[in-house]
Amino acid sequence: MNSFFEVLRGGINSTFQDLGRRNYYHIGLPFSGAMDTRNFLISNALVGNDKEDACLEFAYQGPLLKVKNNSINIVITGDVNFTIKKSLSEKVEGQCYKTYLLDKNDELDLISTNNSVYGYLAVSGGFKLEKYLGSYSTTTRAGIGSNNGNKINPKEKLFLNKSNKKFLNKKISYINSKIEFIRIIKGTNYNYFSDSSKSDLLKKEFTVTKLTDRMGMRLEGPKLKNNYKSNIKSEGLIKGVIQVPTDGNPIIMLSDHGTIGGYPKIGVVISADYDKLVQLPPNSKIKFKLIELSEAEKIYKFYNLETENLLNQI
């Protein structure tokens, strides 16, 4: 029998994710996929997996898992406080970005993410899952994807693929730096907003509220006033779009967002800043900086190169 984890605690929102589900926006299915792509990619690479393999993503408090049957080679990425409890000895404090070999009956306790939101658990050989419409990603809102479209719950068994890979001690040093400015490009309705609101957007501070999940990040701060019209005809959305509803509080669309929406778009977060954005927990302060498309493209190339370099160290 394949090895598996028995779930003793599911955690707040633990779901299987990969690089996302393409080509279904037109029927209302969001992209989903790992929120923090860089940490996702690093986790797979450290245990020798393909970048297309699924990881278990968790938010804030992660799951408590017990190893059943055979040993499992794992890694945790992100900024995560976790312990490994060996059956006959003391608990060991876990270190992120370092591989561990867990033995039968060991317990992996993913206690919390430190001043961040998402962490990733990758297992060598990958979890035993089936793709749904081309992806392993779970979209809980539509009830689709791995684990029958649900987050993981106590008593469930998370089966692993059989892996012939030998355990390799791998480690990189990586620090998840906090982002100071979220860089944005003007949205398609930028000019609907009053001059003072446009200036507030770039000069004042916004706070991430508790109403933030995989679908969207609601912000509070100066109210953004729309001079033109507060509803537009519903149209497509992408992740990173900053919509401003009638109440003037911006919402940033995240990976599980509704595929269409009818609120004006004041801006769009650049692709290179998305991984850092989603890691901001409630009460974090955000400042926006407006840049041009050509600059955003350059920054993305650089960000990508940085990720490649990290992966090449492994």
């Binding site: 209302g28 009830g143 595929t259």
Partner: protein, 225 residues
Amino acid sequence: MIKNISNLGDAALYCDFGDEVNKDVNSNVIKYFKLIREKNIKGITNITPSYNKLIVSFDLNLTSFLELKEKIINIKLTNILDNKVKTIKIPVCCDDEFALDIERLTKKLNLSKKEILDKYFDKEYFCYMTGFIAGMPFMGDIDEKIQLNRLETPRLKVPKGSVGITEQFSNIYTFESPGGWNIIGNTPIKVFDKLNLEKPTLINPGDKVLFYEISKKEFLNLNNE
């Protein structure tokens, strides 16, 4: 025709077909949607048609705004032979327990329930787009006399299967979801079926849809099937 293409962020194209919303404009959006899909252009990750816009998102590792814009501009709108368009028939039960907003509608429109439903049913509608939540179709145009704005305060939970109207459009809630449309009934038909991998959505952009009224008994029978 596409009037303008701009960038939506650094990884999507925003194709603008103008401000008007009607079947002709939307048909063009859908034609472009189908043509771009057929071409399988490198880097495109999603194409989202709506009333009068088309958003093409892409993988910034594989292509860029300017490169894709050039490709989309050069697409010639050919006449697509689409003989697949058939009329999809949707049964709806409008008993009071399902018609959550019928009272609001009768008051605001100054019409009886029967008058409202007579105007709504047995008329062919056109699906402008599908989305927001999985498989939710946006259809139109409903009779001018039964057009009304959405609720001032949206419901936190609209039951699955609810059929709603707002402005010139009608939709179906494929999942229980928050929402602000005026609910006139409920359909027992599965409009989104995740187990149908070939075609999880019953109603797609460009399809024709016809609603017909059923009794509570018929509703329960269909629901059990």
